[in-house]
Every structure is written in structure tokens, then in C-alpha cells.
């Protein structure tokens, strides 16, 4: 395990997410629990963000179900390395379904950020980009430099998916920016924004 290296990674998570979402248009966004949800909230809370506060391991399969239901909309899942590690099997499920409108971004700081910054498996030998590729996802990249990150935004907007990006980000504790946490509210505002009056049960 390498306990120090992620403290010096040049990419910063808040700036990465801000840039990913700056030109999002009508993209549907799912955020995994913890720091990535705060990053997405910091970039601007909107009804078409579904920010999880639990259901660890569920961000990718949730994004998959959404992508299958809405094939004409782009779906972007943003999650952390710890959350992704709990749902690795879902990468094989995504690869089997091959939704062209789904992109997955992991912000990999090699830590469990909400529980005391303990090291995750990616501080050791686990390589999420390689795992995604070996699961059968056709486009997988690991990005750790500002220069190579620039093309990620364009790929997410234009390239046919499923796409997987493992972004190595600096391990840092940032001020909390909390999205709403009432799941029924998050669900209802998302569905009404997306489906209009058909969302009513």
C-alpha cells in the first residue's frame, strides 16, 4: 500500500467535477455516496442530479437502469473508488448491456474519505481502469494529469459508450457541500423534471 502518493496528485476533485458538469446540457447525473456527492452538489444542485447518501455499491447499476430507460439522454455516473470497489460486479453487467449513453467517472483518491481517510485497495495493487477493461467495457482510461483530463470532458459528451474513466485525484478533506438528503424528494424532483406530469403515481 502506498500511503503518501495520492496526497500529491495534481488533479483536484472539486475542479474536476466542476469541469465535467460545466457543459452538461440535459445530461442525467448520478453521484455515489460521500465526497463525490458533495463535489456534485458543489458544482450546482439541480433536479437532474440524483445524489446518493447510502446504497454503497449501487451508483453504477442505478445509472445503468436509468440509461436503459432513457436511451436518448446521456447518463453520467460520478462516484468514488471505495463506492466502486463495493460494486465491481456491476461493471461486468454494464459491459454485457453496452448502453451507448452511459459514462462512468471514478474519482480515485485511494481513500475512504468519509470515515477517516483510510487507504482503499487502489492504494495497493487494484487498478480500476484495468478492472473495467477486463470486465468488457470498451472504452476505459486512467487519467492523472491535467493535460490528459481535458479530453475526458469531450469524450463524455461525444463518444459512444459505455465509457469508464478512472481519475486519480488528490487526497484532501474539503468543506462539506451537502445536497438534499430526503430520498423521496430527490426521486420526485428528478422524475418530474425528466418525465413531467407522467411522473405522478
Amino acid at each position: 500500500m502506498n500511503s503518501e502518493r495520492s496526497k500529491n496528485y495534481p488533479l483536484r476533485r472539486r475542479a474536476v467535477v466542476k469541469e465535467l458538469l460545466a457543459q452538461r446540457g440535459d445530461t442525467l447525473v448520478v453521484a455515489g455516496l460521500g465526497a463525490t456527492a458533495w463535489d456534485v452538489a458543489a458544482a450546482g444542485d439541480t433536479p437532474l442530479n440524483f445524489t446518493l447518501w447510502g446504497a454503497m455499491g449501487g451508483a453504477v447499476p442505478l445509472g445503468l437502469g436509468l440509461a436503459l430507460a432513457q436511451p436518448s439522454r446521456r447518463v453520467l455516473v460520478i462516484t468514488g473508488d471505495g463506492e466502486m470497489l463495493m460494486g465491481l460486479g456491476s461493471l461486468a453487467t454494464v459491459a454485457t448491456q453496452r448502453p451507448p449513453n452511459l459514462a462512468i467517472v471514478v474519482l480515485d483518491n485511494e481513500r475512504y474519505g468519509e470515515t477517516g481517510m483510510q487507504l482503499t485497495h487502489t492504494a495497493g495493487g487494484a487498478d480500476l481502469g484495468a478492472i473495467a477493461a477486463a470486465s468488457g467495457i470498451p472504452v476505459c482510461r486512467t487519467v492523472s494529469e491535467k493535460q490528459s483530463f481535458k479530453s475526458v470532458v469531450q469524450q463524455i459528451q461525444k463518444e459512444a459508450g459505455p465509457l469508464f474513466f478512472n481519475i486519480k485525484v488528490r487526497a484532501e478533506n474539503l468543506p462539506l457541500v451537502l445536497p438534499p438528503k430526503d430520498g423521496a424528494y430527490l426521486k420526485d424532483r428528478f422524475r418530474f423534471a425528466l418525465l413531467g406530469k407522467d411522473a405522478a403515481v
Partner: protein
Amino acid sequence: MTSLTSETWPQDIYRVLVENRVRQVAYIPDIGHASLIKMCHKSDDMKTVVLTSEEEGVALLAGAWLGGDRGALLMQSSGVGNCINMLSLTRVCRMPLLILVTMRGQWGEFNPWQVPMGQNTNHILTVAGVLTFEVDDKDRIKEAVEAAAKMAFEGPAATAVLISQRIPGAKTFDR
């Protein structure tokens, strides 16, 4: 053991799913669901998703509902244990979830490893906030799935139909 292909109850379930406009069917297979899975794969209106763990299906169908699709999740009773924390998503967000469970470890089970989940499936689902419908007569499966679908999609609520091992018959290795 009765031949699965000659049974009509899987068709009954399929028709209820069609009538309820189910669009995503997620599953980890069970021999009791084999012919239903085949029917769903042949449907032009249903997307079928094979999972690596049942909890993925809970999250998948939450995403489906966010996008306007109704879903159904097929599994055997051992898979219920894999879903527990993910069911908090369904509950906290008040989303529909229709689960169809074929029971193992219940009636003449030859494999003792199926018994701990099989004997406690109903209790565990109930504690997790899922409404359960147990059925041990194949002629009543249709009405049980209809009832569970209605309460799931009009709730919205999480519901599960538990199909007794007496219906498909206990699995053996000498079929």
C-alpha cells in the same frame, strides 16, 4: 418432478408483467424462473439484465424508475440476503420494487446450505420493509403477482412474491 416446460404458471407471471408494462427484467437465474426468463428475453418490449449480485438489481430498478421504466427482479431465496442494505434505497426514496422469489431450502431441500436463507426469507424481507405474498398453489401465482404488482406500482412500495418450493418441486441432482 414435473417438467418445467409443461407448467403454465411461468406464462401466467409473464402475462402479468406484460399487463403491468414492465420494461426491465433483472435476474440472477433460478431453475424455477428458467422458462419465465426465456419468455422475457424473447419480448420486444422488455430489456433483460443478468446481474452479478441481486443487490445490483435493486439499484438498477431504482434507476429504471427514475427514468420512467417499471421493472421486475427475479431471484431465488438465497439472493434475498444479498439485497438487504440496497433495499434502503427503495425504502428511503419510496420507489416501487417488484421481486419474484422462487424458494429454496424450504420443502424437501436436498442442499442444507439453502436452508438458512430459505427458512427466513419472509421474515428478513418483512423486517427490511418489503410487503410479502407467499404462494404455495400454482393456480394462485397469477393473482399473487397481480396483487404484488398493484401494490408495488401504485404504492409505490417494495413487494415480493415468494413462490413455494412445492410448486416447481425440490431440486435434485438425478432429474
